[in-house]
Symmetry: C2
Subunit: 368 residues, 2 copies
């Protein structure tokens, strides 16, 4: 289970695990893949600095990555207070009404209020990059297109590879033009921000379009080793998996909520929905009473990024604290239908490797 | 490129080609795959009888299949005239207004008016089965769930295998319960009637759920040999491809319209839309000015099956005769973005086989 890119990074398996949990990221790296820690939730750079220090110390000297959410074009900037003034009253009333209807209690008086995910403001994402470069990740990945050229140059100067997600050949070609090293071809079945073209179609299409100009990782709908074999057979240099790790035992130990994991284990592959309600851009989410409320006839349209997330930030915090598996606000891909237990990362990695080998053996046999 | 199911059918390659063209179906069978002829457009059983006689005579004694569109539950029945009375005036006005706006001329006085696709009426589909059993297909496939149990028994008695499309594990399990022999796991990126779960996710999920109780073919987004290797590696017994053959040279010779083929060659993988406007049930279509009109704010909701197709039958005929590549009414999957020329079936088959072998070789190499 080797690819040229895995060898270049010095990792045993071409499994790239995107996760918001340092425990999961470090466990994947230690198990021979590459953990990629999502930085977007760290509004305070000092907090990310601390977490990456922990990563440096808990990955046995093996490589890891950091994922930022950095728009290529600088979007609406401003403090959360300035931006808050741009949110229509109608939207605030709707959010509060829905939470009351769903029985989600208000925050206690002593709860620190979540300012919203500011990580996708350019200034905050830039601070994530600055912090990351003080540590030893080998990869910076960006979920919202090519990073700005200064960031690519800054990362290259520090010896890091830069990867960017692409939901179309047009975006993939633009990434390579912009100096991105690795294209992550992400199909519409993926969790989080995603396009509409499915992984099965998108991966070979992007590989053909790039014609060797950059290595391609495949993302979207990948959870087992037969799916990893599928994309490596197409010519991908590895698999980028996110939702697969949401039910990792290590995540449960790292603040991953039990209500969320319970909801994921109960979900089928049909229980996701692609919607703009999380961030303002289309993202695939776990279907729940919260997403249903936004799909109802009386719901307002989602606001543009970054306003929508500011609108729902406190709601997400209330939902998270209420711990109701039927009311969850969570990016998740269609592969959640295949998650069947709270499993340690090392066991999942071993299973993926075994499934991969079985798939290759089936294919060998088919050629006689 | 062998699987157990391909050996059982005595075909060289596990490539199942669904097509409305007898020329294409026969060419696939002659090239070592299995052509599966769509019967839905033959409202007159005598016409299907004639076409299957042609198939019998032009397939070198090799196996072929027939695809019917048969609801498991008997839906609204009646002549097209009875059903026509159930269509609201508002819908008729909308269709005529859109066609006028798009510059699609009315039919000439001498044109026979298309009565609409009646093939998905139970009575008509049953006549398709009766006709098929007088010929020598080896497979009856159904696009709308399990066929009625009488049809399965009738087919088995005649020595045919019965296959049914499934867009979820629930449907796949029901098919096997109902006596279906082969489950076609079809991802949401497929053309025509389709669910929402992507092929990459759905295929291993259904294979796991069936646990060997029935062989699984994979469908949706499949066009090249690396994708066939992907699904065979997952444990599928072959690939079911539809859109791949829409630009076959043989289809062009068999009344496949040049405007439609031109539109398909120009389309990217993003140029499809899943909508109920073709038949009343969700189906993925080529995006065109026609589908755009139905997505506009002033468009009525689609009618239930079979009324919607009766509503648009004459419109489809007008669109077809107008030969405008920007106004097309055509089921098509996301793989159309990869179609790059009008190519004879035998050349496409050879290319798929070569790509498959290259994929297996890449995977072999990855294991060192």
């Amino acid at each position: 289970m080797k690819t040229a890119l895995a060898e270049e990074f010095g990792i045993e398996y071409p499994i790239f695990a995107f996760t918001p949990s340092k425990y999961v990221a470090a466990a994947v790296t230690r198990a021979g893949g590459m953990g990629v820690l999502g930085a977007v939730r760290y509004n305070d750079p000092a907090e990310l600095d601390e977490v990456l220090t922990w990563m440096d110390e808990n990955t046995d000297g093996k490589p890891y990555g950091v994922d930022v959410v950095m728009p290529n074009k600088v979007p609406t900037e401003g403090s959360s207070m300035d931006l808050g003034a741009m949110i229509p009253e109608e939207h605030k009333v709707f959010v509060n009404r829905v939470l009351d209807d769903l029985g989600v209690p208000p925050l206690g008086d002593d709860a620190g209020k979540n300012a919203g995910v500011l990580g996708w403001l350019h200034s905050v994402a830039q601070s994530h990059v600055d912090v990351a470069l003080k540590h030893r990740p080998v990869l910076i990945a960006n979920a919202l297109g090519s990073p700005p050229v200064e960031v690519i140059e800054q990362s290259h100067a520090a010896g890091l590879k830069v990867a960017a997600l692409a939901g179309s050949t047009k975006h993939a070609l633009a990434h390579v033009e912009n100096g991105v090293d690795i294209v992550i071809a992400q199909g519409g079945e993926a969790g989080g921000h995603t396009g509409e073209v499915a992984t099965m179609v998108l991966v070979p299409e992007i590989i053909r379009a790039l014609d060797g100009r950059a290595p391609v990782l495949a993302a979207g709908g990948l959870g087992d080793g037969t799916q990893v074999a599928a994309v490596v057979g197409m010519g991908a240099q590895g698999a980028w998996m996110g939702s697969r790790w949401l039910t990792a035992a290590e995540y449960a130990e790292d603040g991953g909520s039990r209500a969320m994991q319970k909801a994921l284990l109960a979900a089928t592959s049909r229980d996701t929905v692609r919607s703009r309600i999380y961030s303002g851009k289309p993202a695939r989410l776990l279907k729940s009473k919260w997403t249903d409320a936004w799909a109802a006839d009386d719901a307002p349209d989602a606001l543009p990024m970054p306003l929508q997330n500011l609108l729902v930030a406190e709601a997400h915090q209330r939902i998270s604290e209420a711990q109701d598996p039927e009311v969850v606000a969570m990016p998740a891909g269609q592969i959640i239908g295949s998650l069947d237990g709270i499993v340690p990362v090392a066991d999942t990695m071993a299973q993926i490797v075994a499934e991969y080998e079985a798939a290759v053996e089936r294919l060998r046999a088919s050629l006689g």
